[in-house]
């Protein structure tokens, strides 16, 4: 029994998409923390 091709493709694309979301989220959080002066 093998992993299907579509599973393989979805896994890779989802991983790259989630990492992109992560990078954007960090920048948004940084701006918010800077605005509210809660960086540290």
């Amino acid at each position: 029994m093998f992993f299907s091709k579509s599973f393989f493709e979805i896994l890779i694309l989802a991983a790259l998409a989630l990492m992109s979301v992560g990078a954007i989220s960090l920048i948004v959080m940084l701006i918010q923390d800077m605005k509210t002066k809660k960086l540290w």
Partner: protein, 462 residues
């Protein structure tokens, strides 16, 4: 590039280090770290050379399950999230994970825990010092000894100047570089070859890598999951961040960091799996990542990967230097040797310990010993045996000192026997299983009735 990156991190360390005027500042970045820095530091620290080098190795040896197995280490961050909140509530003025074990379980368990924790921290440091040398050699042709020395020197310098402020500040920049860099390389790989072609090639050439029922891989999932949880639960790297974050931030920061970390091993592993389709010969399994990126993207790719790998190494080496030195200074020097030590004395001691750790790591890394996996997974059963004493110790009044002590000792010993007799992929699993049985048995048959107020030393002292 290496010199430029080194200068940037050291200058940033000096800049942020100006904020570290007290020991709370130097060790815990003022205990007021916000969500952005908190999330980034947890994520970047967990992206180590082992993530970017071992995940591709896992993918090549264990296939899709190997990539997924490595990504289960994200559960260490997810499950530590509620613990981070509890830690901040119970110990608002705590410094180290050692403080917790000492106050919760007493001296015997504390000593065993310190042995495990310092051994693990040092093992992690060695594996990353070695990775630094291997990477510099693979990516830029820099001799192993010089590359390894350079990365250790840079990390020691900026941690020395800036303490946790420098570590967390640089972690933010490093986490962004890591995520963007891996996405760029991943997209470039998809752009240059067809995913269908990769799949077909694997199915023809190495079908076992796509096998849903590959036994060693399935075992590796549970082993890696428990190893990851053990690493995070016990290590002062994560506890110091829980203490450093502002109240109400820890749980959210660790949860978000888990989500951002989860796809990293999958993306890194995928890059390795394309090696067959591209006809690239892998000579050493732990060099597969840098080799692939250099082949696919040429010089530009090599530069991107060099920076990503440098950041993944630096973000963890700095954290380990800071957290392990905290553990040695706070738990050994202050609590055991010089109880009345002044802040000035402790700051100087921290500096000596950071430099000493750097030198010791350098000495051990000089001869390149074993692969990264064998070095790191040896510590697996040790850290896995601490999961339940820590988790139950934070939430169950009935968790007892004897139970914690015997859970750590028996889990470590039986896990190490499994490591040698059965294989590395069973050691953490068996260590953790023994630990849970012992912890729960003692909690049920000879329960403690712990008073949570004892955890806050600032109140206990007044």
């Amino acid at each position: 590039m290496l010199i430029l990156l080194g200068i940037i991190w050291v200058l940033l360390g000096i800049y942020w280090g100006r904020k570290a005027k007290s020991m709370d500042g130097f060790m815990l970045a003022g205990r007021n770290v916000g969500l952005a820095f908190g999330t980034a530091t947890a994520m970047a620290t967990w992206v180590t050379s082992n993530t970017t080098m071992l995940a591709p190795q896992f993918a090549l040896q264990l296939g899709i399950w190997g990539m997924v197995a490595y990504s289960t280490a994200a559960f260490g961050l997810f499950l530590f999230a509620p613990l981070a909140r509890r830690i901040k509530d119970l110990m608002p003025k705590g410094y180290t994970s050692g403080d917790f074990i000492r106050l919760r379980y007493g001296k015997a368990a504390w000593l065993v825990f310190l042995g495990i924790s310092i051994f693990y921290g040092f093992t992690w440091l060695i594996s990353m010092g070695m990775a630094g040398g291997i990477l510099m050699n693979a990516l830029a042709g820099i001799p192993y000894e010089i590359g390894m020395t350079a990365i250790l020197l840079v990390c020691v310098l900026y941690t020395l100047f800036g303490g946790l402020y420098a570590v967390i500040g640089t972690d933010f920049i490093q986490s962004l570089i890591i995520m963007i860099g891996i996405v760029v390389v991943g997209v470039a790989v998809i752009w240059s070859i067809d995913l269908e072609q990769v799949y077909t090639n694997l199915r023809t050439e190495k079908p076992m890598l796509l096998n849903v029922l590959l036994p060693a891989s399935i075992m590796a999932i549970f082993n890696n999951l428990l190893f990851g949880i053990g690493e995070v639960f016990h290590s002062n790297v994560w506890w110091s961040r829980a203490f450093a974050m502002r109240k109400g931030i820890g749980q959210r920061a660790y949860t978000l960091a888990g989500f951002f970390w989860l796809p990293v091993p999958i993306a890194a592993g995928f890059i390795a799996l394309t090696s067959g389709s591209l006809g690239i010969n892998i000579t050493s399994p732990d060099m597969v990542g840098p080799l692939m990126a250099g082949n696919i993207l040429g010089k530009a790719g090599a530069v991107i990967v060099f920076i990503v790998f440098f950041c993944s190494l630096a973000s963890s080496i700095d954290s380990l230097l800071a957290a392990t030195s905290d553990l040695i200074v706070e738990d050994i020097l202050k609590k055991m040797i010089k109880p009345g030590a002044s802040e000035k004395w402790m700051r100087r001691a921290s500096a000596f310990v950071i430099v000493g750790l750097g030198i010791l790591t350098w000495v051990v890394c000089l001869p390149r010993i074993g692969t990264l996996a064998t070095v790191l997974f040896f510590a697996g059963p040790m850290v896995a045996s601490t999961i339940y004493p820590i988790a139950t110790g934070l939430f169950w009044k009935s968790a007892s000192a004897k139970g914690a002590l015997w859970a750590m000792v028996s889990g470590t010993l039986i896990g190490l026997i499994a490591y040698f007799q059965m294989g590395w992929y069973t050691a953490s699993l068996i260590g953790a299983t023994v630990s849970i049985i012992v912890t729960v048995t003692f909690a049920k048959l000879a329960p403690d009735n712990f008073d949570w107020k004892k955890m806050d030393e600032s109140v206990a002292q007044t």
